[in-house]
Amino acid sequence: MRYLPLTPDDRSEMLAKIGAASIDDLFIDVPEAARLTGPIRDLPDHASELSVERHFKSLSAQNTVAGDVPFFLGAGAYRHHVPASVDHLIQRGEFLTAYTPYQPEIAQGTLQMLFEFQSQVARLFGCDVANASMYDGSTACWEAVSMAARVTKKRKAILSSGLHPHYVSVTRTMAKFTRDQIVHRDPTLAAATDIDDLIDAVDDETSCVVVQYPDILGRIGDLSKLAKAVHAKGALLVAVVTEPVALGAITSPGEMGADIVVGEGQSIGVGLQFGGPYVGLFACQAKFVRQMPGRLCGETVDATGKRGFVLTLSTREQHIRREKATSNICTNSGLCALAFSIHMTLLGERGLRELAALNHALACQAADRLAQLPGVELINDSFFNEFTLRLPKEARPVVQALAERDVLGGVSLGRLYADNADLQNGLIVAVTETTTAEDIEALASALKEALA
């Protein structure tokens, strides 16, 4: 076995040192009845690298690769071009095979990176501080709801209808057990966001209002008035960003008064990966820092006065506080945070703005082109790189028909809101810098056929 270095001679010598006659003597605590003998059912013996690679190559070939076809899916996961240097750097063994930096003297690489990551995320979201990453956007969203309850000591969260339905599901699931109250309804295919409704809905029992920006249909609403209304009721405004590239083009939630801004960082550096691993972003204003969940990296000095970084404020965390922790979270998404941070460093503010401008410009082209198709209506009057079309028929089979023409044409609202008849004709279309004019034409022509 290529991964196991002990030789038979080593094993004999070691057993002798231990004073055991055989390896079974080391398993004496396992009751006889529970010991497995014989092979693991159906599992062959060890396989060569070549044969394992072949197995996966064959499975890989059964999937339609996004980069091989005209591709327009978004709805919480976006296909952006990641510079080759990002993957090169995250594969350095010193990053890839390191543990959580609990021994800071020999983990300054990870720690300084996390400090830089926190600083990047805070600036991107317009907040004072950010944590060292979470599992993904959806779990970060629930953590924000939970944190708002801790801060306000109230248990009613109002979720915008524009919040990603998976994020709503996760929040509902958790709230069911914690007995928090969740207020939410499905979106409607209208040009405007539901911000005015949210302003009306917030009341004295509200712990937080959670609003996605841009929202699930791609619409962009000004959060400033909402923030004021929420604060007036003693609640917090939680903003969710599933496409951080947008913030290169539009004002951030933090700048408009959001108290907590969470997001999915996958767009920057991480790639699609069929949904995971991704990287949850979590930022807030300074006054709430001690109620934050997750790991935090802070600056300090060493015994000789040199600047250095450590994990800090860990009295919030489970390994210190146990059942009194702010969250049960242990793992973060360190390597994805690294990918995010490297990509963001390559972009810099200038690159992020250029990237965002290109995304928006291509999305405008696509929206205009597709809205020309007979019976197709563009819902949005505002959007960044994603917009929603109302098709003249149910979108779900249309997406299927497009796939049969080797066009991955978007996400049907039927996939996301199976039970809502009003939404079945909706199709969310995302466009990024990887989209070509030919891709847009291919979608337009395939869509025309599928609708004919």
Binding site: H46, G93, R123, K306, A418
Partner: protein, 499 residues
């Protein structure tokens, strides 16, 4: 050379990425065009590569040496698995693509699920939890859902003193009251005390087996039976499953739910803190309550069960724990690991992990106190205490001394039941020569701690940093970069060129 922060060397106007020019268009950004500067610095590609390459070299990693963190299972990460995870058919597919276009990806999930069920002897597995603690939560929520379905409201979860911190935190996060179970002097769950506490208010018992003292719980089946007898459930923390994989199936011991840390037993890379992946295997009693989504083999095709079509398959599912379908990138790696090892290899993994730990235990017990060394063999980790250290010398001192010997320290001060605990897990991917070298280093620092060698208090001397002031960091938190004029904490930085 000290490595500055990107904020100190980059500028908002520099970029390491080129883009095509944007076609002309009329902006439709809802009137929210960004005007203010964010202050996010950019670097050229050359500077970026150098910055992160230099940073990386301040880290310790398995690729550099033995990483003896007990309970964290830092073993070799095969590079084949990295290659496979990057195949375009896995890395470049969208989670919401039509299912016909992702059959191979669904196949990976289902194949891995099959082996996890087989290896644990359980009924089903929830694949979406994002990490071990998320898996614990999944298991506890399954239990809560099952109790709800029975119409029972049981408020208490029992957790041993020696449990991972995530266990009580998870139970509390899910709304339970947490009570401790005491340990015997031999380092195991006190069965009598447990039985005495069991009753109709107990929702579940959370056990780690092999436990955090590095010992197998021989009474595990009796524990399970007792818990089941009062209508409770048994949650097993699977962090230490690698010690018994292929040799013991938790399902045979009465476990109802157990998460599996794919980065531990199945060696997906830890990445400096994540990502993890924590599938949860479930007993027949809990299987109906598993979260969405799910992959089913349906005739010739794989089918994903989500909210829209859940009714027929999992009417009692407790809901969704995360967007999308879990950590695909970890699934490919774990499945590649299982196939590479096979039946003979996986059994060898458990054997060599246990052999290596016992070898370390017996090679150090003459110089370090092994509180449960007399109880018999350990499993995959060896536990020591600070008994016998000179006055004023601590486990922390020994750990920092070990850094100067070229090693990452072992797990310290855990489990809590042992004073100044040192928990060492060598893993199965270490050679005897590597163990001998580590043992020699341990003997050296143990000698220093026992002799009261003052030099040890200053260690490490040869690391990228001397001991860091964690109190200062917590008292005056600096969590994000600010211009030096504002953040006095950055004042130590010397500008490049000061040479």
């Amino acid at each position: 050379l000290e490595e500055p922060l990107i904020f100190e060397i980059g500028s908002s106007n520099t970029t390491g990425v080129d883009f095509a020019d944007a076609p002309t268009h009329t902006s439709r950004l809802g009137g929210l065009e960004r005007t203010a500067e964010m202050g996010i610095p950019g670097l050229s590609e050359a500077e970026t590569v150098r910055h992160y390459t230099r940073l990386s070299r301040q880290n310790y990693a398995i690729d550099l040496g033995l990483f003896p963190l007990g309970s964290c299972t830092m073993k070799h990460n095969p590079r084949l698995n990295e290659k496979i995870a990057r195949m375009p058919g896995f890395a470049d597919i969208h989670p919401l693509q039509p299912q016909d276009t992702v059959q191979g990806a669904l196949g990976v999930i289902d194949q891995l699920a099959h082996w996890l069920i087989t290896l644990t002897g359980m009924t089903s597995v929830a694949m979406s939890p994002k990490a071990g603690a998320h898996g614990e939560l999944c298991g506890i929520l399954c239990i809560k859902a099952a109790l709800d379905a029975r119409g029972e409201d049981r408020p208490v979860v029992l957790v041993p003193e020696s449990a991972h911190g995530t266990n009580p935190a998870t139970a509390a996060f899910a709304g339970y009251k947490v009570e401790n179970i005491p340990a015997t002097p031999e380092g195991r769950v006190d069965l009598a005390a447990l039985k005495a506490r069991l009753g109709p208010d107990i929702a579940a018992v959370m056990i780690t087996n092999p436990n955090t003292c590095g010992l197998f719980e021989p009474e595990m089946k009796a524990i399970s039976d007792a818990v089941h007898a009062v209508g409770g459930f048994v949650y097993c923390d699977g962090a230490n499953f690698n010690a018994i994989v292929g040799r013991v199936r938790p399902g045979d011991l009465g476990v109802d739910a157990m998460h599996i840390n794919l980065h531990k037993t199945f060696s997906t890379p830890h990445g400096g803190g994540g990502p993890g992946s924590g599938p949860v295997v479930l007993s027949e009693a809990l299987a109906p309550f598993a979260p969405l989504p799910f992959v089913h083999r349906d005739g010739g095709a794989w089918r994903l069960v989500e909210e829209e079509n859940v009714g027929e398959d999992l009417p009692h599912s407790f809901g969704r724990m995360t967007a999308f379908h879990g950590q695909m990138g970890m699934f490919t790696r774990a499945l590649a690991y299982i196939m590479s090892h096979g039946t003979d290899g996986l059994k060898q993994v458990a054997e060599d992990a246990v052999l290596n730990a016992n070898y370390v235990l017996r090679s150090l017990e003459d110089v370090l106190d092994a509180p449960f060394g007399g109880s018999g063999p350990c499993m995959h980790e060896a536990l020591f205490s600070d008994k016998g250290f000179a006055e004023g010398f601590t486990t922390l001192d020994l750990a920092k001394g070990l850094i100067d010997e070229g090693y990452h320290p072992m797990t310290m001060y855990f489990p809590l039941v042992v004073h100044g605990a040192m928990l060492i897990e060598p893993t199965e991917t270490e050679s005897k020569a590597a163990l001998d070298q580590f043992i020699a280093a341990m003997r050296h620092v143990a000698g220093q701690a026992k002799a009261g060698d003052e030099a040890l208090k200053g260690a490490p001397y040869y690391a990228p940093r001397r001991r860091l002031d964690e109190t200062l960091a917590a008292r005056k938190p600096i969590l994000a970069w600010a211009e030096p004029a504002v953040a006095s904490g950055s004042g130590n930085y010397e500008k490049p060129g000061g040479g």
